[in-house]
């Protein structure tokens, strides 16, 4: 028996393997992005910044990045605003058709994205709408909303409804209550919702591919570049920048969220 590793050590080995398999490929990205070779393979040849430098002059890439930013921010803001309304209705009111309505909001989570993309394309073209960033934003709104609603419902459930009643009782209007009590108390959930939906929108490919028309988002642009083997190092450096940017964003948002949450916590 004593030669068998303890369950604790087995668990540790499992965790290390799990994390390694999950993140090793991601770690290769920045490594190869500094490698002075057009093909990503070992052994490493030499250190270079040239893949990053050539990105700086790439107007198509910058346009795509800008498009992604517009789509991401718009989808995140719209989804969070609508999510606040839906989550409030779900948690604070009883009304006919509440069950079906929330199921409908959640449906895009389980619908295959390619089906949503094709249906939206058919409908939008049928309506005679031009494909543009607006149509991408609408598509992303659809798939982001379930995440916003989920995060915000738990936010609403986390605070006592009598807070809002107390505000009304002290003479504040419904809108004033939203501004002075509901939104500040929901701040951690709002940040989470914005962050999650922005991230979903940023790396969403299928809907963007179908709906973006002549204005590609970053994932669509990257996919286009993969056809040219020579462009691969550029894509690797772009990917590395994205990883770094999302790490910074996540950290900043998490710090803000924790600070806001600490303010809300009851410490009796």
């Amino acid at each position: 028996m004593r030669f068998l590793p303890s369950p604790r050590r087995l668990l540790a080995v499992y965790v290390i393997l799990y994390v390694a398999i999950l993140y090793f490929p991601v770690l290769l990205l920045p490594v190869f992005s500094f490698n002075d070779s057009a093909t990503p393979k070992l052994p490493l040849v030499g250190f270079t910044f040239r893949w990053y430098e050539s990105l700086a002059g790439n107007a198509a890439m910058q346009g795509a990045a800008w498009n992604s930013l517009i789509v991401g921010v718009s989808a995140a803001v719209l989804s969070t605003v609508l999510g606040i309304c839906a989550a409030r209705a779900i948690t604070r009111h009883r009304f006919r058709g509440k069950g079906p309505a929330s199921a409908l909001i959640m449906a895009p989570l389980i619908l295959p994205e390619i089906i949503i993309a094709i249906s939206l394309l058919v409908v939008l073209l049928g309506l005679g709408l031009q494909l543009s960033l607006v149509t991408v934003i609408l598509g992303h709104l659809l798939i982001c909303l379930p995440y916003s609603v989920t995060v915000l419902v738990s936010g609403f459930e986390g605070f006592d409804p009598s807070m809002e009643e107390a505000s009304r009782d002290l003479g504040e209007t419904s809108f004033g209550t939203l501004r002075r009590v509901t939104l500040p108390m929901l701040a951690p959930s709002i940040v989470s919702s914005l962050l999650v939906t922005f991230t979903i929108s940023l790396d969403e490919f299928i809907l963007a591919f179908f709906l973006s028309g002549t204005e590609p988002t970053l994932p669509v642009y990257i996919w286009g570049q993969l056809r040219f083997a020579a462009k691969l190092p550029n894509v690797l450096s772009l990917g590395s920048i994205l990883i770094a940017a999302s790490l910074v964003l996540l950290t900043a948002a998490e710090i803000f969220r924790r600070r806001a949450e600490r303010k809300m916590e009851l410490r009796p």
């Binding site: 807070m163 107390a166 108390m185 809300m264 009851l266």
Partner: protein, 362 residues
């Protein structure tokens, strides 16, 4: 009540779907009165309070405050303020900002606002706590902030939804006294919801006892305790020995009855009408029965055996089987003379005050 009415509740019903939460309530609460709604959970007392505050609407009937119908008037436009059961202290604001929350809308000017907040803090003895955040307060402090935050609005009516139930026993008793003092000092109407009969008895000018969405009795605390209108009211407010008599007769303002093993007794109706004497029930509070000790004499005397004994510190409760009868009597006796040492199974003699029996419609 000699004062003018502040709140009038007229034929108020409330239905939640098919459930009748409130059934034809009528009550008038006077200006400057400390009025309690007392009852077990689910009796509708909180629903009624929330209706006065404007958080629920009656299904039918109406509520008037200061002579004005409150139909369709939202909470922010009513002359009432509420202390919520959870206190609902805004955690993202400090104590002073919590108290100033309602004042902000009145646009009093900075000096006046600060003066009022300071007064309110002094009133609840939290002068030092102004900068403390709402989520860093103890239960008792949050209760005081909730009180100050409501009172600073200078309401005509203060509504209190079980404000003391979250506090421990000592603090609760201290706050009962303080709340009563505060109410006398500022002189506005307080409406208190509670399920604690001692709280209601010790604080209120009048009490409405509620069961199953109906008001069973509205009276002063002493009247409620000494002369409960129904068996339910008697049972809810402390212990009561319920005795049945086959020979109950009503004669003018008095009643007479023969109680098996106790004898013939008489009592005052005390304003009650007994429509069906066959279903009426006689009661006597356990503390109105006394032990007759060795060597003492008393008249009348009931003899029995101690069936059970429970010690409560300052008093002992005894259950006594009346000799030759299938009837228990419960007695509460102070421990000064050794009631806590009476062995279970021993013989005991009991006497009672002749005017202590009351009659209730069952």
């Amino acid at each position: 009540m000699t004062t003018s009415p502040m709140i009038e509740i007229r034929n108020v019903d409330k239905n939640f779907g098919t459930f009748r939460a409130l059934d034809t309530l009528n009550a008038t609460i006077g200006e400057g009165e400390f009025f309690s709604l007392l009852g077990p959970s689910g009796c509708g007392k909180t629903t009624l309070l929330r209706m006065i505050g404007g958080f629920d609407d009656p299904s039918s009937g109406e509520i008037l405050i200061g002579g004005r119908s409150m139909a369709g008037i939202p909470p922010n436009l009513r002359p009432t303020n509420m202390v919520f059961q959870s206190y609902a202290i805004f955690p993202h604001l400090n104590v002073a900002e919590n108290i100033a929350y309602g004042l902000k809308r009145l646009r009093l000017g900075r000096a006046e606002e600060e003066k009022r907040v300071k007064e309110a803090l002094d009133q609840v003895e939290l002068s030092e706590l102004g900068p403390r955040m709402g989520n860093q307060l103890s239960g008792g402090q949050r209760q005081r902030v909730a009180l100050a935050r409501a009172l600073v609005m200078r309401p005509k009516v203060l509504l209190l939804d079980e404000p003391l139930s979250a506090l421990d026993k000592n603090l609760r008793e201290q706050m009962q006294v303080e709340l009563r003092h505060l109410q006398r000092q500022i002189g506005i109407t307080f409406v208190l919801v509670t399920h604690d009969q001692y709280e209601a008895l010790s604080m209120s000018d009048r009490i409405a006892v509620m069961f199953g969405g109906q008001i069973a009795q509205i009276a002063e605390p002493k009247e409620i305790y000494q002369n409960p209108a129904t068996r339910q009211v008697a049972d809810f407010l402390g212990g009561m020995n319920f005795l049945t008599s086959s020979h109950l007769s009503v004669n003018g303002k008095n009643f007479a009855a023969t109680l098996p093993g106790i004898g013939d007794i008489t009592g005052h109706l005390a304003g009650k009408t007994i429509s069906d004497p066959a279903k009426a029930i006689i009661g006597i509070r356990p503390e109105r029965l006394r032990i007759v000790w060795e060597g003492e004499t008393a008249d009348p005397i009931v003899t029995g055996k101690v069936a059970d004994r429970n010690y409560f510190g300052e008093v002992t409760s005894l259950a006594v089987n009346i000799e030759g009868q299938n009837q228990h009597l419960s007695i509460v006796e102070t421990n000064d003379f050794g009631a806590d040492d009476i062995p279970v199974g021993s013989d005991i003699r009991i006497t009672y005050d002749r005017d202590a029996f009351i009659v209730m419609q069952g």
